[in-house]
Structures are given as structure tokens and as C-alpha cells.
């Protein structure tokens, strides 16, 4: 593929990232000049800014029918990059809305600035077509997230989350970097597409290729929280400020899948039979371990952490199907999952704000204290459990359909069995919310406007994706087509 010569119009492809940088700067400046009482509006500025950038991206940054390599081949302007960028921007906007008014970080300009920088990194991850660009993008995604996870310095669990996330991230990233350097050493190329061409010529031994692939997989596995690279997940999810957890569990995981899809389908198609074997194994382990450990959790954030591990496993099924439908189902699943998990964590944020706890048993009586929150949580949990008319149902059907289409019926069956385990613990939480009573039954939970907006938008998203899935699937199929 040839690299497109730079013209001013190419700037449009990275317009969202440029605007994000501007927005981050604006937030830091406002933080400096605003009085403390005014700083509670920072979250709104961030959310509205992100929404505007999302709009701009939808209008001006749409890729053409043909993918283009731009900026000296460091970025690829295609549907995969575009679709994921939209997803990240949306997740960041919702995260900002959920953070408003939260003590210790919701009124801090640097909190939102870090969030935005991390989105820039994710956007570049989704578009990266060069090893160096990719590595830099991954690091500029991760480093702000390490800081965000440990943002509440005064609290031990948050500090622990930050350090743990950092140590795991640093370790896996060096292993991945080693894999990158071997790739460069073997082929003399840093551009993914040039590199893929060299690998496809097949002059390299199979074990070597698998070794390189596995080293790289360590880094991606960390990002998507796949077993056995998941050990950081529960502690980080539990300790980090909850909106940050929401963001890590949705956008950051999706970013990991964006690069995984590109690598798996475009760089390593030559050793397909082998890597699909390895990744199927990962998928099975990820689903099963995530779901089984989730059964024993008593803290809602830890439960959602293990559930998010399990969901990474379902998405991996779509990846190993190695087909247009498979890649599309993975993208579709991520869209459904982002909407759903944002609602789930949104409810956790609001509940903890009033009740000051994340214990599942404390959720008793939620349906009496706030019917709206209870309903939102029901929508989210049932969608995670794969029940119609919610997004999670169609997403699971597509993923399993992709597996069956590619002859991986056994994998679909494992996925289906896992879905049943998943449903069990989601229903257990739902039971506490609707069935049990607590002494605080009459203690209503306040829902601020920003969070209510975020919850309503995402819940409607869950139902829309679940019932009118044709346009979303079309989007996912277009995205998938750009990978083949």
C-alpha cells in the first residue's frame, strides 16, 4: 500500500486528536483561573467539549471507501480507526459526566486533562500503522491511566491500584516491546503493512513467528484483561475512582481490541492456524476464569471486574473466527459492552456517592430507594447477561454465529455455557436490588442531572442497539471489511 502524500486535507484525519489536545489545554487553563466554586463546571466543559469533538469527527474525519496510509505511514485512516475513535470519545464524554461533583477529582482540571490525553493515545492506537507509533500510542494511553487509577492519593486502595496498574503495565509493555524489536529485526520494517508483506513471504520459521506473536500478545492481553494477564484487573477496578474504572473497563479494553484485531488479521495472517489455536485457548480461559471467580465476589466493583474479564473472552471468540462476520461481531460486541458497562458503573458511582460503599449486600432496597437507578442497573445486568431486548443478546448471538460459521461449534458451546454462569451472578445482584430490604429503604438516592443524562443516553443506547441492530451491524461490518 502506498503512502498518501501530505496535503492540508490529511489534517482532517487527526482533527479529533488535535481538538482533544486543545480541550485538555483549555481545561487546565480554566482550572487555573476559575474560583474553586466554579470548578465544578469543569466536568461539563469536558463532556460538552467531547460531545462537540465527537460531532466534528463524525462530519469531518470519516474515512473514504479506500483506507489510506497517512503521515509517512504512521497512521492508517480507515473505518477501524474511525469506529473505535467514536467509541472512545463517547466513553470519555460519559466518564466526564459521571465524574462531575465527585469529591477529590471531579473538580480538578488535571483529572479531565489526563482523561483526554489518554483518549488521544487510544485514538492513535486505533489508527497506528507503525510499530513506533503504536508503542507510543499505547504508552500515552497507559501512563495517564496509571495516574488516574491512583488519583485519590490519600486512599490506600487507590494508591495501590495506581502502583499495581503501573507495575503490571510496565512489565507487559516491555515484553511487548521486545516482541516489536524482534519483528523489526526480522523484517527491517516498522510499518505494519510493509512488515506483514515480508512475513507473508514465509521465509521465517514457524516457532520464531509464534514466539514473536506471543510476546506481543502479552502486551495486548494486558490491555484487554485476558487470562492469564488479568491479575491487575480486580484490584485496579476496585481501588481506582469508579468513573476511571468505568473508563478503563470500556474504552481502554476496546483500544486493546482495536490493535489486537489489526495485528491478528493484518500482520499475522500467515500463521493463522497456529495463532487461532492459541487465542481460542485464551478465549476459553478468559471466559471461564472470569465467570467462575465472579461467582464468589461480594464487592460490586470486583464483580464487574471479573465480569469484564469474561466479556473479553466473548469478544475473543469473534476475533478467532477470522472472518468478516467475526471481526464485525467483535466490534459490535464492544459497542454493546461499552454502553452496558458505562451504565453499570454509572449506577455504582451514584450509589457509592450516597451510600459510601460498594458492597453488593448494601444494594438491598435500591429498587425502593431509587426505582430509576434500579431499572438502569437491571437493564445493564440483563444486557451483560445476554437477555433481549438489550444489546448484550444480539452481541452474543453475533459472536456465537461467527464461531459457528467458521466451524468453531465447540467454542460457541463453551461460550454458551459461560453465558449461563454469567447470568447466575448477574441475577444474584438483581435479586439483592429488587428483593431484599434494608433499613435505609426510605432514604432516597439523589441523581444529579449530568449522571442522569449519561445513564439515560447509555440505557437507550443499550435498547436501541438491541432492538434496531441493523445500522449498528452495518457499521461493524464496514469496520471489519477494512481489516481484510
Amino acid at each position: 500500500m502506498t503512502i498518501v502524500v501530505f496535503t492540508p486535507a490529511t489534517i482532517l484525519a487527526i482533527l479529533p486528536e488535535i481538538l482533544l489536545l486543545v480541550l485538555a489545554g483549555v481545561l487546565l487553563v480554566l482550572d487555573g483561573i476559575w474560583r474553586p466554586s466554579q470548578r465544578r463546571w469543569l466536568g461539563w466543559v469536558s463532556a460538552i467539549g467531547l460531545a462537540l469533538i465527537l460531532g466534528v469527527a463524525l462530519v469531518y474525519s470519516r474515512p473514504g471507501a479506500e483506507p489510506q496510509l497517512i503521515f509517512g505511514g504512521t497512521l492508517r485512516h480507515d473505518w477501524t480507526a474511525f469506529a473505535f475513535k467514536v467509541l472512545f470519545l463517547f466513553a470519555a464524554a460519559v466518564t466526564s459526566l459521571l465524574s462531575i461533583d465527585l469529591k477529590g477529582y471531579g473538580d480538578r482540571g488535571e483529572y479531565y486533562a489526563l482523561l483526554l490525553v489518554s483518549v488521544i493515545g487510544m485514538n492513535l492506537m486505533a489508527g497506528a500503522a507503525d510499530l513506533i507509533m503504536l508503542y507510543l500510542a499505547i504508552e500515552s494511553t497507559s501512563i495517564p491511566l496509571y495516574v488516574l487509577a491512583g488519583f485519590m492519593r490519600g486512599r490506600d486502595d487507590s494508591a495501590e491500584a495506581g502502583i499495581k496498574y503501573f507495575l503490571f503495565g510496565a512489565l507487559t509493555s516491555t515484553v511487548m516491546l521486545y516482541g516489536f524489536s524482534l519483528l523489526y529485526g526480522l523484517t527491517g520494517e516498522t510499518n505494519l503493512y510493509a512488515l506483514a508483506g515480508q512475513l507473508a513471504e514465509g521465509s521465517f520459521s514457524l516457532p520464531l513467528m509464534l514466539a514473536v506473536g506471543s510476546l506481543i500478545l502479552v502486551g495486548f492481553g494486558f490491555k484487554i484483561a485476558a487470562v492469564p494477564f488479568h491479575f491487575w484487573t480486580p484490584d485496579v477496578y476496585q481501588g481506582a475512582p469508579t468513573p476511571v474504572t468505568a473508563f478503563i473497563s470500556t474504552a481502554s479494553k476496546a483500544a486493546g481490541f482495536a490493535v489486537l484485531l489489526r495485528f491478528a488479521l493484518e500482520v499475522f495472517p500467515g500463521v493463522q492456524a497456529q495463532w487461532t489455536g492459541i487465542v481460542s485457548g485464551l478465549a476459553v480461559a478468559t471466559m471461564t476464569v472470569g465467570n467462575l471467580i465472579a461467582l464468589a465476589q461480594t464487592d460490586i466493583k470486583r464483580l464487574l471486574a471479573y465480569s469484564s474479564i469474561a466479556h473479553a473472552g466473548y469478544v475473543l471468540i469473534g476475533v478467532v473466527a477470522v472472518s468478516t462476520l467475526g471481526a464485525a461481531s467483535a466490534v459490535f460486541y464492544l459497542v454493546a459492552y461499552v454502553f452496558t458497562n458505562l451504565v453499570a458503573f454509572g449506577v455504582v458511582v451514584l450509589f457509592a456517592r450516597s451510600a459510601g460503599t460498594d458492597q453488593i449486600e448494601a444494594y438491598a432496597g435500591l429498587s425502593r430507594r431509587s426505582p430509576l437507578l434500579a431499572l438502569a442497573m437491571m437493564v445493564a445486568l440483563l444486557s451483560l447477561g445476554g437477555m433481549p431486548p438489550f444489546a448484550g443478546f444480539v452481541a452474543k448471538v453475533y459472536v456465537f454465529a461467527a464461531a459457528v460459521e467458521s466451524g468453531l461449534i465447540w467454542l460457541a458451546v463453551v461460550g454458551v455455557l459461560n453465558a449461563i454462569i454469567g447470568l447466575y451472578y448477574y441475577l444474584t445482584v438483581l435479586k439483592v436490588i429488587y428483593l431484599y430490604r434494608s433499613e435505609d429503604d426510605d432514604n432516597r438516592i439523589a441523581v444529579p442531572v449530568g449522571s442522569a443524562l449519561a445513564l439515560v443516553v447509555c440505557s437507550l443506547g443499550i435498547i436501541l442497539v438491541g432492538t434496531f441492530s441493523a445500522p449498528w451491524l452495518e457499521w461493524a461490518l464496514t469496520t471489519a471489511a477494512s481489516l481484510f
Binding site: S367, M387, P388, V404, I409, A412, V416, L430, K431, L473
Partner: protein, 490 residues
């Protein structure tokens, strides 16, 4: 374009559910009347559809189709035939009577009726689906509200256990079927989930023999087939009255119907190869269910296991793969649906007043609740297959069909009727006649108007069908003929 009656019937309940959720939770009266209005409308519309169905033309009518997820060949595709239309009517009857019976629910009635109506949408949706994906979509919608309905409003002792057991059983069954459905979709190469097209896909015999058990038994779990029936009595007993009615009356038919429509009609060769297993399991259902019902001391468990026993007859009817058997199974689905809803309504009325369901502790209820006793006796006569009641009209053709294909099964299963008579007589004698224990004096208040209407409607229907089988039998027979054209036995 004609009035899209099936779409309205299907979406009306969920619309009502959203409306009810939008009300303030304290307005109990408003919530109840809205629920009753919606349920009456649903019943009325299903009756209209039933009466305007053109029997001479047969086939699928009130058909409506539009693309839904065109990339995968999924469409919104509804239509009813002689097999499914009576079940639509049945759902209308049960939702209407269920709302009447639930008038006294006063713990969060808003959520109760909202979930009940979501359930109704799921059930209507399955019965009218002609698209396989759509069928699953509605099938799952019917499953999850059950969990909350039972867990929140059910019998305190077992509700959490029973609700979870039921949901997991049904979910396992449906996802196993789903894998089979996906296999059909990709193997057919037609790129469509349209069931009428898949009927003609010409799957190889090996394929059908391999996948039939997954699809059929996956759905038959909800039909209560042995050995996967275990969720059903626990679920029936733990559920609040209206939900038990829905559950035994309609949901079990949902499973049986889907097993017929997807299992037998799409994989007829598979059905022929596996009919022996369905025969054996169905026979066990009939006998085993009846024996277990006999030793129960809890009134509601008796009815719960009697459902298992009666659903066995439906399975036997399917397994005959001949006209009488399948027509009988169709009639049995309707007849048993109304009858068991009637039973559970009666159990609920007695329990609400006596606060116990232990048969030895009850007695003499007929004196205080004469209408309830009459309704229960009518139900019992239906259940025993007495001529003049719908049970006879349904069970007779099943045995007729069974005699032609598997006389041994007919002989064994007939014994089930004798056992049924035994346990029902015992319940009637102990609960409704004899001396009323002194502790109930003053507690047994008369039933209200809504309860009476519900009892009259359901008793009337089973008698009407028994006396005038022509109101339904020819329609179901036309549906059964369509099944047989696919099986190739007609």
C-alpha cells in the same frame, strides 16, 4: 395495508408495561385499571384474530413482514396458523384472568404488572414468530421477567431458589437450541432465518439426526419434559398466583410449541429418528408426574406435578407424528393451559384465605367458597379426561394416534389418567368437603367480582370446548396437517 393485528397484540403488553412504569408508584388504582384495560384489549384482539381467521384458506394468515437485520437475513416476520392461533387466544385469556386474580397485589404493583406484561409480550411474540431469530428474541424476553416475578412476589420459603433454578434451566435450554439454530442457518446456505424457507432447505438426514435432539430438547425443557422437568413444580409453587397461571398455563406451551415449530417442523427427519426417545420420556412424564402428584401434601405441588404429567401427553402427541396425535397435542396445549390456570387460580384463592396449602390441614371449603369448589371440580373433570370437557377432546385423539404408532406407550400412559383421577379426588374430598377446621372460621371471606369473572371465563371455556369441539378442533387439525406435510406422513 390491513390492520397489523398480530403486531398490535404482541407490542400492546410491552407498551402497557412502559406506561405503567411511568406512573407514580403509589397510584395503585390507576396502575390496576390500566393493566386491566390493556389485558382486556389483548384478549379482545386475540379473540378477533381467532374468529376472523379464514379456516377454509388455512395456512399462515395476518402475515406481516419487514426487514429487521437484513445483513443476516433476519426479518420481522409474523403470522399465525391453526396451531399457533389457539395459543395466542390462550395467552389472551390467561393475561386477562391473571390481572383479575392479581388485583390484591399491593407490594409494588407497578413493577409487578410491568414485568407481567413484558412476559406477555415475549409469549405472544413467540407464538406469532415466523422468523427463527425473532422467535429466540421473544423467547428470551419471556424468560427473564419470570425470575423477578417469582423472586420478588413469590412464596417466601422457596422463591429465591425456585426462581434461580427456573431461569437457569430455561436459559440453558434456549441457548442449546440457539446453537442448533445457528447450525441450521449456516448449513442451509440460504442466508435467512425465515422459518418457511428453512422448512424447504432440505437438510441432510445426518445433519437432522445430529441437531434434532439439541433443538427439540432445548425447547422441551420449558415444556417440562422428563428429566428436565425439575424446575417446573418448584417454579409453579414458588410463583405468585397470576405467575403460576402464566407459567403452567402458557409458558410450558411456549416450550412445547417451539419444540414443534423449530424441532419437528424444521428437522422432520430428525424427528422420525428420535421419536422413540420422545415416546419413552413422554410416557415417563405422564406416569411419574402423576405418581409424584399423588404423594404431595402441598395442594400447589399436586397441581405442579399434574402439569408435568399432562405435558407428557403433549409430548406423546408430538411423537406420534400422525394427524390424530398432533391435533390432540394442539388441543391438549389449549385445554391444559386453561385448566391449569384455573387450578392455580383456585389454589391461590384458598391459600390467600387459609394461609396454608397443606391438604391435611384444609377442609370444608366448599361451604364457604362454593364457586371456587365448582371451578376446581370442573378443572378436575377436565384433567381426568371426562367426556363433555375439553380434556377428553384433547386426550382421546392423542391415544388414538398413539395406538397406531406405539401401542405400548398408549397402554402405559392411559394408566396416568387413572392415577390423575385418584389424586384429584383426594384433593377435592379433603380440601373442599368434610369438616372445616375451627381455626378457619371467620377467615374464609367470599371471593370478589374479578375472581368470579376469571373463574367463569376459564370454566366456561373448558366446558364449551368439551361440548362443542368444532370451535377449535378443525382449526388445530389444519395446523397439524401443515406439520404432517413436512414430516411426510399425511
Amino acid at each position: 395495508m390491513d390492520f397489523p393485528i398480530l403486531t398490535v397484540i404482541t407490542l400492546l403488553p410491552i407498551g402497557a408495561s412502559l406506561l405503567i412504569l411511568a406512573y407514580p408508584g403509589e397510584r395503585h388504582g390507576l396502575i390496576r385499571w390500566t393493566a386491566l384495560a390493556a389485558a382486556s384489549l389483548a384478549l379482545l384482539l386475540s379473540l378477533v384474530a381467532y374468529l376472523t381467521y379464514d379456516q377454509s384458506a388455512g395456512g399462515y394468515q395476518f402475515v406481516q413482514r419487514m426487514p429487521w437485520i437484513p445483513q443476516l437475513g433476519i426479518s420481522y416476520y409474523v403470522g399465525v396458523d391453526g396451531m399457533s392461533l389457539p395459543l395466542v387466544l390462550l395467552t389472551g385469556v390467561v393475561i386477562f384472568t391473571g390481572v383479575l386474580i392479581s388485583w390484591s397485589v399491593d407490594d409494588r404493583p407497578r413493577e409487578f404488572f410491568a414485568f407481567l406484561f413484558i412476559l406477555a409480550t415475549g409469549v405472544f411474540g413467540v407464538f406469532v414468530s415466523l422468523d427463527l431469530f425473532q422467535l429466540f428474541f421473544f423467547y428470551e424476553i419471556a424468560v427473564f421477567p419470570m425470575y423477578l416475578l417469582i423472586a420478588i412476589w413469590g412464596w417466601k420459603v422457596t422463591r429465591e431458589y425456585a426462581a434461580m433454578k427456573l431461569t437457569l434451566y430455561l436459559f440453558i435450554g434456549s441457548v442449546v437450541s440457539l446453537v442448533g439454530a445457528l447450525a441450521m442457518y449456516f448449513t442451509s446456505g440460504l442466508g435467512t432465518f425465515d422459518m418457511l424457507a428453512l422448512e424447504q432447505a432440505g437438510f441432510s438426514t445426518e445433519f437432522q439426526a445430529l441437531w434434532f435432539p439439541f433443538v427439540f430438547f432445548g425447547f422441551a425443557v420449558l415444556g417440562g419434559i422428563f428429566p428436565f422437568h425439575n424446575w417446573s413444580p418448584d417454579g409453579h409453587v414458588a410463583a405468585p398466583t397470576a405467575v403460576s397461571m402464566f407459567h403452567a398455563g402458557v409458558l410450558m406451551k411456549l416450550g412445547a410449541f417451539a419444540a414443534l415449530r423449530v424441532g419437528i417442523m424444521l428437522l422432520p427427519e430428525g424427528a422420525k429418528q428420535w421419536a422413540w426417545l420422545i415416546l419413552i420420556l413422554g410416557t415417563i412424564n405422564v406416569i411419574y408426574g402423576a405418581f409424584i402428584a399423588m404423594v404431595q401434601t402441598d395442594f400447589k405441588y399436586v397441581i405442579g406435578f399434574s402439569s408435568v404429567s399432562h405435558m407428557g401427553l403433549v409430548m406423546l402427541g408430538f411423537a406420534t407424528l400422525n394427524l390424530q396425535g398432533i391435533t390432540g397435542a394442539g388441543l391438549q396445549m389449549f385445554s391444559h393451559g386453561v385448566m391449569t390456570a384455573l387450578f392455580f387460580a383456585v389454589v391461590g384463592m384458598v391459600y390467600d384465605r387459609a394461609h396454608t396449602r397443606e391438604i391435611p390441614e384444609l377442609g370444608g371449603m366448599a361451604r364457604k367458597l362454593p364457586l371456587v369448589a365448582i371451578a376446581f371440580i370442573i378443572g378436575s373433570l377436565v384433567s381426568m379426561g371426562m367426556p363433555g370437557f375439553s380434556g377428553f377432546i384433547a386426550e382421546f385423539p392423542i391415544f388414538l394416534g398413539l395406538w397406531q404408532t406405539a401401542p405400548w406407550a398408549a397402554i402405559i400412559a392411559v394408566l396416568g389418567i387413572v392415577i390423575t383421577a385418584a389424586y384429584l379426588m383426594r384433593v377435592v374430598g379433603r380440601v373442599f368437603f368434610g369438616e372445616m377446621p375451627a381455626k378457619f372460621e371467620g377467615h374464609i371471606t367470599p371471593i370478589n367480582l374479578g375472581d368470579k369473572v376469571a373463574l367463569f371465563l376459564m370454566s366456561g371455556l373448558v366446558v364449551l370446548l368439551g361440548v362443542l369441539p368444532a370451535v377449535m378442533a378443525p382449526m388445530i387439525e389444519s395446523g397439524a396437517e401443515a406439520v404432517l406435510r413436512l414430516v411426510g406422513g399425511a
